[in-house]
Point group: C2
Chain length 374, copies 2
Amino acid sequence: MARIKDVAAQAGVSVATVSRVLNDSPSVTEETRSRVYAAMTALNYVPNAVARSLRTEATRTLGLIIGDILNPFFTELARAVEDGAREAGYTVVIGNADERADQQDHYVRTLLEQRVDGLLICPTAEVTPLIEEVARGGRPLVFLDRTLPGLDVPSVRADGTEAIRRLAGHLRALGHRRVAFISGPGTLSTGRERTRAFLMAAAETGLEVPPEYVRVGDFRAGSGQALTAALLDLPEPPEVIFLGDNLMALGALDEIRKRGLRIPGDIGLASFDDVPWFSHTDPPVTAISQPTAELGRGAVRVLLDILGGRRADSVVLPAHLVVRESCGEARPHARPPDGHDRTPDGHPDTPDGHEVRPDGHGDTPDAVVGRGTA
Amino acid sequence: MARIKDVAAQAGVSVATVSRVLNDSPSVTEETRSRVYAAMTALNYVPNAVARSLRTEATRTLGLIIGDILNPFFTELARAVEDGAREAGYTVVIGNADERADQQDHYVRTLLEQRVDGLLICPTAEVTPLIEEVARGGRPLVFLDRTLPGLDVPSVRADGTEAIRRLAGHLRALGHRRVAFISGPGTLSTGRERTRAFLMAAAETGLEVPPEYVRVGDFRAGSGQALTAALLDLPEPPEVIFLGDNLMALGALDEIRKRGLRIPGDIGLASFDDVPWFSHTDPPVTAISQPTAELGRGAVRVLLDILGGRRADSVVLPAHLVVRESCGEARPHARPPDGHDRTPDGHPDTPDGHEVRPDGHGDTPDAVVGRGTA
DNA sequence: TACCCTCATGAAATCGATTACATGGAGGAC
DNA sequence: GTCCTCCATGTAATCGATTTCATGAGGGTA
């Protein structure tokens, strides 16, 4: 493979000049420049980013560690991160923690060895010694989606409190009283926050939530299914089950379908996270939609701010309730022959403040910014 | 950041010795080894993979270029590739071509600059000059899912011919005659092969497929929706529409739902690609399932074979028909109170040879191997 | 013509690891 | 006691780029 030295020889110049051409230095004659370009194409020269990085101490690469690559929320997030990074000329290396702290740490180590310029982490557990070391070491680091307490690391995440409050109101308005919540692990900030928000909203709204109605899953399909089964087997099962993320909702759908129960007639269902196919299930699922794209791009922006030596603020974006039919929204029996059978589209904010959106595509929420982490 | 030189000083040895410890060389005293380890932890030493790669000419990194990161088929594929690579001690850098040849080439260039040890590419278009150069240059390269003609590059892909034949039989058995196909671009091997397989199967089975029933989409939701609309607007619309991939099926569902048509009563639907949520749509979608995990891990294995200097064979794995309800399978009107409302689970191969699988989870198919590409 | 300034270019050090080769001490054989 | 061997360790070259500093040609001015 051709090296810069070969290009220099072919063009009859020094390696320094070739390097200047590579880096668009202004102090190169137009004539020399074109001779160098000619040599590069003649030799099929591909600059060696490894050598460049060794010298410049920069890889123009960002590391992203997500919780679970099979979770569409994280893949959407990853896509947004990639988009933002590419626009800024960065490559992204993705690590899949598979919701395991050891695997998360494995990727942190690998990415540090690879000398990524900065890290975006969706932390999978509580503070590990390695994460703490990275944070204290002052390495460019941003938490995404989830945060860790006690570290001075900016974070970019969504806040579902208001959306959950609206969901509670929606359920109450439909006449439901007994609502269960299957949350995520208490070791994750998202798990804790959603539980707290749900309990608060339930109390405010007057929903009945006995202790056995609050279960802790692991944000994966299996636990959603198992815990749904447990709830359905209670002497007095809930009228509605609210799932803490889209994978557990998938598991819940499996369990409900397996039992031959009808939604929302026999059991109502709602989910945190909105995914494209929620509008195609039987029936479409009422969900809380996170501004995934804005989260991903926002996190890249914050990280690039740190890399650029600018001040980095944490970002909190609101999540939105998307009402569909899975909690008992009226479903017309006769469909009009010519078109929509539900509320028409086009950002219709209903009087009680939530969004009725049969198609599941989002709008751009406004950002709430604050300094550092709690 | 601590360098190998600092560790050497701290441990009172030379850098060569530290390097030997890093690389598990046997010729280091146990006592020296532990002194070096102590120094490394004391200094929080993280080896610099950039410097190592420059010297060893190996990055232990594989490049993967997928067609579209929003397509669950490709994200599943990516996950399988990552799993396989991690087990072998490799990191994967993913590039998202977004189904655009220029973006694909952009990532090829970037990955070459990063000196990945090998490339896995799901080619997004016909042979570009860059791809040809890479192939001719003898760089470790494997095509995944899609292939390109005329290049001596091994490929790992699924063959849907038999599954499509079974789908045709299934449709015929249900009494359908007029079946339309929305294919992928003719520039992609998968688009061409699926069209050819469908036309062959239709002819064999006695389905009516006038030219206006065969449309060419781009494997993305938008085209699935638009082309479904076009088919439904025909003077004599088809009884069933078969979509060439899961994203176009999503678009078709959107269009059908928008028009208030019922599936399968008003229009039947089937899809190439199976995704987890197809069993939760209204109604569950009959689909052709590709052995995604085996494809991804198989491709890594082939690439590692090339890297290890072993002979590399192309791999072709069969796809499977998964019958659900969207083409007219009988749906019970009364559900039993205690459980399943459809065919029971457990790998039931029905007499006519296809799999009836309400849950959408797969089995391991047998591999068909052959030398090189066509 | 002499002097100085500008600017394009080149020579060589450098980044942090690996590794071929050199070295020296311990131990065994005679 | 001498010599040879083996083996743990050290010295220094190397990978391919960037970058600092030196250099010399060319041009403008007095």
